[in-house]
């Protein structure tokens, strides 16, 4: 057998296709090594290198959360309140949980609001946010938290750009238990969300081997898990693939921008069906809060003003009016804070990277102060 194997290898050596595959393998190894050696923090790429996302604490309790895991911890830590209107739920995107060029003593807006509200009988703020959270996700988060915490009021931050996002990200599906689903089923946007999740689940998902069911699912799952574990143990690069893939995606992103001359100020068009679904979610959120007797404060988020905004300005102006009218119709307070944070409190920028969304520590203080003016009394 050894002789035959030797003969086979010898013949392989003389084969052009074998040489091509060998060269290909070497090139692939070089590419993997190159990507592995690059020190790119893919996790924070979306936020930008200057940004930090702390979790705020008060008397040992974490009262801001920006991931499903942190949200669950927050619920655990705060669910023991005896008061019926203990909390202000502040919903937002990454602006709420990110500080640009964080310095000692800097805190997120919910922290300053908590300080401002600090009194024995006051409701306490809790900040729940997700990067690029859309309004459908706000609705799901609100319904989930409303069933678990005594919420007195909701502060809803609105970002025009996030209306381009759609659906519920996979990590949030964990929050959808029967009670939340039943609740969502009562709302127009909620039904759309549930329908979309159902269709996605039917179409595939991890290891959905056969639509008709079967033992393969379990067998292959177990086999794959065992092989994955072993590969990861003996060959650590295998486990690092998601990181390498993220860096590769970042490269693709830059290539796309270069090819199509896309700049940070390039106008991002509104995507009509997504816009509609998100606005329906906002209507449902406000409607539910009104029916359930909760106070609501809606505000347009501060945004950088020293550069042209990457928005369709006509639609942006219209949208702000629509939001104001919606808030009025549902008995909610409305604030337009887009110019609240002065230019010096935003991040630095260079040609290919401008952060329109995340401001420095003092910006958070300013934001909290404005919110406090509305709800502090």
């Amino acid at each position: 057998m050894a002789i035959q194997m030797h003969k086979l290898l010898k013949q392989l050596y003389g084969d052009w296709k074998a040489k091509e595959l060998l060269l290909g393998t070497m090139v692939a190894v070089m590419l993997v090594s190159f990507y592995h050696s690059r020190n790119v923090d893919a996790e924070n790429f979306a936020l930008g290198p200057q940004n930090t996302s702390p979790v705020e604490q008060w008397q040992g309790k974490h009262f801001t959360a920006h991931s499903p895991l942190l949200i669950k911890r927050l619920v655990e830590e705060f669910s023991d309140s005896v008061s019926a209107d203990a909390y202000w739920l502040w919903l937002g995107n990454s602006q709420l949980h990110t500080i640009n060029q964080k310095k000692d003593g800097d805190h997120l807006a919910p922290y300053w609001l908590r300080q401002g509200l600090a009194c024995s009988k006051c409701s306490e703020p809790i900040g729940v946010s997700m990067p690029n959270a859309n309004l459908q996700e706000y609705l799901v988060l609100e319904r989930y938290l409303e069933q678990r915490l005594p919420i007195r009021g909701i502060i809803v931050s609105l970002v025009f750009d996030d209306l381009r996002e759609d659906g519920i990200r996979n990590e949030l599906l964990d929050l959808l238990d029967g009670q939340v689903e039943a609740d969502l089923g009562q709302l127009a946007a909620g039904r759309t969300i549930l329908q979309s999740i159902k269709q996605s689940a039917q179409k595939g998902g991890a290891l959905n081997m056969n639509p008709a069911g079967g033992g393969e699912k379990d067998f292959q799952k177990r086999l794959e898990r065992a092989l994955e574990t072993d590969l990861g143990y003996y060959f650590p690069l295998w486990n690092d693939r998601s990181h390498l893939k993220a860096i590769f995606t970042i490269d693709l992103y830059y290539v796309r921008n270069w090819l199509l001359n896309i700049e940070p100020t390039t106008v991002r068009k509104i995507i009509e069906p997504r816009y509609e679904r998100n606005m329906q979610a906002l209507r449902d959120l406000l409607g539910a809060a009104q029916r359930e007797g909760r106070d609501v404060l809606v505000y347009i988020v501060p945004i950088r003003q020293d550069l042209p905004l990457p928005y369709d300005m006509k639609r942006y102006e219209q949208w702000k009016q629509v939001v104001e009218r919606l808030a009025h119709d549902h008995g909610a307070r409305f604030l337009n804070l887009e110019t609240l944070v002065p230019p010096e409190h935003w991040g630095t920028y260079h040609n290919d990277d401008v952060d329109f969304m995340h401001f420095q520590g003092p910006g958070h203080q300013l934001l909290a102060k404005e919110i406090l003016k509305q709800i502090g009394g």
């Binding site: 392989l12 296709k17 290909g24 090139v27 692939a28 179409k203 056969n210 092989l227 893939k245 069906p273």
Partner: protein
């Protein structure tokens, strides 16, 4: 077991090495055992069903061969076909039939007790192995093939793991002789060509098809009324590419896996989206299925002489004006559509293609561009590909209502003013389209310029490097192959 999984790669290496290293008398048994394990790892109970179905065909084929009486032969064939098609109908179409009967009575407004049925699990690959079995019995009936007297060998033919779940659909004359006289020891050429095909297949599946899948799913889950004409075109192209990469990827892995045990499969795809006519498309897309349909359905329906090869595709053009040919064409395509799935949307897809082929036949009789073959080819391609791509809309839509709503958007010129998805979706689909044309052009250029040159292997080597790298990055068990559900 999924081809795009570590489990399969592990299984493949183990099976190939075992067959290679084992003494000659054991190799066939190892291949059979590997095939049984491959299928049994999904649902062991269904192995009994396949063994039963295989035994029925094995038995009937021998009886047909032995019998000299024409009527008896025909009866035996009918028995065999009834069992095969009966099983297929039971597992795949019961729910569909019951649903339609209920709808019909609903429509008639009669006081009718609805038929209800329980949950029927569709055995993996039933549509494929049913066709394989049918072709065996019919070939024996047609005296094209002498039935074998070796049930394990016949079982290996039916269950051979590379083609078991989703083809390519092979004829007995193509596979059985290879299985019966095979050393199962690949030559170095087989190893490298097989590995190359598997790598390419994995690339098509995990990098292209699986990256397109969530975008396509999201798009087709979107409320049809909110979409524009341009959205629907993009969805059609996106799904067209997804299903192509998915199935061509699967076929390449199947062909490559078989080659690793020294078995040759025919090609199943040949740049279908470069076809310049509907006829040409069906010579290039799922070639083994269209060849099967040609020989066991379409030609017999027309009363024409069948062929005996799983290559060539549905390349037929005979007396296009004859009434019975048109009927045969549409009947064939409705069956072809329904074979893909128990839903009227698939039948509509079939009718769409039948209409396109018929139209092509009529137009090609008055060939205005006969003197300008290159222009004719470009125009033909420019018309064929949009027709084929739009045909994927009913195939993927899920319901007739949605399919017609989407197709309505394409026709309505007022529905083109906006885009409903993120820009990257359009960009991705357009890049694939452009990439496909560019790649074909580069291949033809390479063939002309650097033929026999050592530069060729350098270019190929670099291309393999990129393919290897991306496959490594994107490799994950996520979605099943689309054709598994058929």
């Amino acid at each position: 077991m999924l081809f795009n999984s570590l489990g399969y790669l592990f299984f493949l290496v183990l099976s190939v090495v075992s067959a290679w290293a084992a003494p000659a008398f054991l190799r066939k048994w190892i291949v059979l055992a590997a095939s049984l394990f491959f299928y049994g790892s999904w649902k062991v109970e269904f192995l009994l069903l396949i063994v039963f179905s295989a035994f029925v065909d094995y038995f009937f084929a021998l009886r047909i061969y032995k019998s000299a009486d024409h009527v008896r032969r025909k009866l035996l064939l009918l028995c065999s076909l009834s069992i095969n098609i009966g099983l297929l109908i039971y597992f795949k179409y019961t729910f569909f039939l019951v649903e339609n009967i209920n709808s019909l009575f609903d429509l008639l407004g009669s006081s009718y007790t609805y038929i209800t049925i329980g949950h029927i699990i569709l055995p993996l690959g039933i549509s494929f192995y049913t066709f394989l079995s049918i072709s065996y019995t019919i070939d024996v009936y047609r005296n094209l093939f002498v039935p074998i007297r070796n049930f394990p060998l016949y079982l290996t033919y039916v269950l051979f793991w590379p083609h078991m779940i989703a083809g390519p659909i092979l004829r007995a004359c193509e596979l059985i002789p290879q299985l019966s006289s095979n050393s199962f020891r690949p030559s170095p050429e087989d190893v490298t060509r097989g590995a190359h095909k598997i790598l390419l297949g994995l690339f098509l599946k995990v990098v292209l098809a699986d990256e397109l899948a969530p975008l396509v799913d999201d798009a087709f889950n979107t409320e049809a009324s909110t979409l524009s004409g341009l959205d629907v075109w993009t969805m059609a192209y996106a799904f067209g590419f997804q299903i192509y990469f998915d199935f061509a990827g699967y076929s390449l892995i199947a062909i490559g896996s078989a080659q690793l045990v020294n078995i040759r499969f025919p090609e199943n795809f040949n740049w279908p989206y470069l076809a310049d006519s509907p006829r040409e498309f069906w010579k290039r897309w799922h070639i083994t299925l269209s060849s099967w349909i040609r020989d066991y359905l379409y030609l017999p329906l027309m009363g024409s002489r069948y062929e005996d090869r799983s290559s060539g595709g549905l390349d037929i053009e005979r007396s296009p004006s004859a009434h019975h040919v048109v009927v045969a064409l549409f009947v064939t395509w409705v069956i072809m559509g329904l074979w893909h799935g128990a839903n009227w949307t698939f039948a509509v897809w079939g009718v769409w293609h039948a209409a396109a082929i018929l139209l092509y036949r009529v137009i090609s009789r008055t060939d205005l561009l006969k003197e300008m073959p290159q222009l004719r080819s470009v125009v033909g391609w420019g018309v064929t590909i949009p027709i084929v791509m739009l045909g994927w809309i009913p195939f993927r839509a899920g319901s007739l209502d949605k399919a017609f709503q989407l197709l309505g958007k394409v026709i309505d010129v007022t529905q083109y003013g906006r885009l409903s998805f993120r820009e990257n979706f359009y960009l991705f689909v357009f890049s694939i389209f452009l990439g496909m044309l560019l790649l074909r052009w580069m291949i033809s250029l390479r063939e002309r310029i650097i033929q026999h040159s050592s530069l060729g292997w350098l270019v190929n080597g670099l291309a393999y490097g990129a393919i290897f790298f991306l496959t490594f990055l994107y490799f994950k068990v996520s979605n099943q192959f689309i054709y598994f559900q058929f």
